[in-house]
Amino acid sequence: MTTDSTVGKRRDPGPTPDPAPRRRTKLLGRQPLGLAFSAPYVIFILAVLAYPLGYAVYISFHDFFFTAPGVAVERPFVGLQNYIQVLSDPDVGRSFLNIGVFLIINVPLTVALSLILANALNRVTRLRTFFRVSYYVPYVTASVAVVGVWLFLFSQNGLINSLLGSLAPDPSWLVNSTLAMPTVALYVTWKQLGFFILLYLAALQNIPEELYESASVDGAGKIRQFFSITVPGVRSASVLVTLLATITGANLFTEPYLLTGGGGPDGASTSPVFLMYQEGILQGNPDTAAALGVILVLGVLVIALIQRRLVGGKED
């Protein structure tokens, strides 16, 4: 019997590979076609988000205002002057405080309510579509239309105060410096709940039913099952919901604009984005508006990082 042994022999290195394809692979990856598929979205992101973001950072370091094409104006580099101006403005400090109050109420409430309601909806067998649509309708309805309903509910002579009678707050909800922002936070929570319920519903489908059955056999009740199976099972959705609720909340604009008459009462519901609108669009100061925007982005990033650490858990 003869055997071909390679032991002790050097392998034939074969023909030397052409370095060109290797370079191409290194540059374009193993699936160059993937680049072609993702190109439209990448271009979209670059044009619609990345370029404006970069331009905003540029504006924030210059003495900048909008002009007609062909108008020659000096836009000198001013370093951190716009940032100093923004940070020394008490209205800006107050708007960040307001948005802090908003996030403290809105984000946990959004996560808790949407998870509980999604869990309940997941178990409902009758009228399931009706309930799902009911929760989703506020989300898809224009704020302008929905705000009218809330004004009817929360105004001085509105339904809520009528029900509360002598317990109604004075001044009323939307003109009360303490209650205006919490009312806005409640409104936004209610309005966006449908979207977040949908995210949780999708996540709930990934939890195997067997886990609940085993837990039940082991004697775990519904509440124990919820905290020991459902909550950990939708952790990735919770991270997403927390992040999205924080980002949309930090960018709050429409609600204080419409519900509290432009950030009222006396600035108690002003948000940073509302101030950016005032400064940049109404008053023609895009430089300070951009500086405020950059600060807001950095703030949101820090909060998002902290949240990811706290909520993300073992996912990291």
């Binding site: 992101i45 988000l49 990345a50 404006p52 973001l53 331009y55 905003a56 504006i59 924030s60 900048f64 205002f65 909008f66 002009t67 007609a68 094409p69 062909g70 108008v71 020659a72 104006v73 836009r75 209205d91 009218g148 004004l151 001085q156 001044p171 009323s172 939307l174 003109v175 410096s177 992040l243 980002i247 930090a250 960018n251 604009f253 008459g261 432009g262 950030g263 009222g264 009462p265 006396d266 600035g267 609108y277 005032q278 940049g280 669009i281 109404l282 008053q283 023609g284 895009p286 508006a289 951009a290 405020l292 925007g293 950059v294 807001l296 982005v297 949101v300 990033l301 998002a304 990811r308």
Partner: protein, 431 residues
């Protein structure tokens, strides 16, 4: 680990990108010099208001011009929808696609548009200043920019007066034909009577919202009346931190404190819905109120009885925008649209007051047939405009913030709020 880091980087980048939507609104980085351009003639585009009556007038005016000038045709459209006309116009200036003429240019926005290089100085035209001054008389001075040039043609005003509900006055035991609204003190007493008698839920219900322009319909008319026509800023100095300014503020503070006015915004028209007994509006409101309310009008009262009072003009003007190719035609169209005949047509169609000298003398038959408008014509000659100063919008926002804090919500004393705002405004107008 590396994958996690990449994922996190991507997530954070996406977060950053999503968060900066508003901070970056394009702009022009072009260079070159502002060019008044050659004064050529040819087709032009114009925007006019989307107010129904003004659209009807505009269509007729354009048809008349186009028939007589087929080689310089006007293409007209209503101003595109936006949060406000000023935002739409500013965006169009930046993009370089503003029309030749915008027929409802707000005086408060003119300094900003001018700074953007978006407006053509009308003094560029041979008869520019002369035409404006001969048509509008002394009032024209208020529309001159800081550089001494006209960037707007004063077109029409809506001098605001008090509209009152005669039925509510009767119910409260007040004489509806001679309403006790002669002074600001009298107005306060009348307001108390109206509310305490139960005839009205509120005496007056101006918007308490924080938008910069809201002070034109609560503080400013009363301040103009109290001072005989002083602007908010004169000769580079804020004027409102004065005895008269404080008196007006204290009157309104009392209105809010005693529940005679509401701190909450009303979503409809509180006067039409009979929630408030008195409204502050211009002549445009006559067709709106029509027969829905049994109304009468009275001038905005000053501090003293019998004085000939001033009020806020609420004017809208015409301006030529620098993107225009045929500026000479634009100027000729502006003159045509503000001619005696077209002013009559505007008056008849809209009830708004052309900013023209001797208005009642120019159209005696109209005012004889429409006596309700005489009050407005009388006020128009003494109407006060917003000051034409740098950072105009910011100036008004600063004032509004101080007003909201001290007068509407009483979180700060009027003296502190007014002196702080005056100081800030003095800095803004000197920039």
């Amino acid at each position: 680990m590396r994958r996690t880091t990449t994922k996190r980087t991507l997530a954070l980048t996406a977060t950053a990108l999503m968060g900066l939507g508003l901070a970056a609104c394009g702009g022009s980085g072009d260079t070159g010099t502002p060019d008044a351009g050659e004064l050529t003639s040819g087709p032009i585009t114009i925007w006019y208001s989307n107010n129904q009556q003004e659209v009807a007038w505009g269509e007729d005016m354009v048809a008349a011009w186009n028939e007589a000038n087929p080689d310089q045709e006007i293409t007209a459209q209503e101003i595109p929808a936006g949060t406000s006309s000023e935002e739409v116009i500013a965006a169009a200036i930046t993009a370089g696609n503003a029309p030749c003429i915008v027929m409802n240019t707000a005086p408060v926005a003119v300094p900003q548009f001018q700074q953007m290089g978006g407006l053509v100085p009308l003094d560029t035209f041979e008869d520019g200043a002369e035409y404006i001054e001969s048509r509008s008389g002394e009032v024209a001075e208020q529309y001159k920019s800081a550089d001494g040039q006209y960037y707007q043609l004063p077109w029409k005003s809506n001098p605001v007066v008090l509209y009152y509900n005669k039925d509510m006055f009767t119910e409260a035991g007040l004489d509806p034909e001679n309403p006790p609204l002669g002074t600001q003190d009298e107005l306060l007493e009348t307001s108390r009577t109206l509310v305490e008698s139960g005839a009205a839920e509120y005496a007056m219900w101006p918007s308490p919202a924080g938008e910069f322009f809201q002070s034109w319909f609560d503080f400013y008319p009363f301040y103009a009346a109290a001072t005989g026509g002083t602007q908010l800023v004169e000769e580079g100095e804020a004027t409102f931190n004065s005895e008269e300014g404080t008196a007006v503020a204290e009157m309104w503070r009392t209105m809010y404190e005693e529940g005679l006015s509401s701190q909450e915004a009303y979503t409809g028209d509180s006067f039409v819905d009979k929630k408030a007994a008195i409204a502050i509006s211009g002549p445009w409101a006559i067709p709106v109120y029509g027969d829905k309310v049994n109304w009468g009008t009275a001038p905005v009262p000053g501090l003293e009885e019998g004085a000939e009072t001033s009020t806020f003009s609420d004017a809208k003007n015409m301006a030529i925008y620098s993107a225009c190719d045929n500026k000479q035609t634009a100027w000729e169209v502006m003159k045509f649209a503000t001619s005696e005949d077209q002013d009559r047509a505007l008056l008849e169609a809209t009830g708004q007051m052309p900013i023209r000298q001797d208005l009642t003398g120019s159209y005696p038959d109209y005012f004889e047939a429409n006596p309700a408008y005489v009050e407005f014509a009388d006020q128009a000659s003494r109407a006060v405009e917003v000051p034409n100063v740098p950072n105009s919008v910011e100036v008004w926002q600063t004032f509004r913030d101080a007003w909201g804090s001290s007068v509407i919500f009483g979180n700060e004393s009027i003296d502190d709020a007014f002196s702080g705002a005056a100081e800030e405004i003095n800095t803004l107008v000197s920039e």
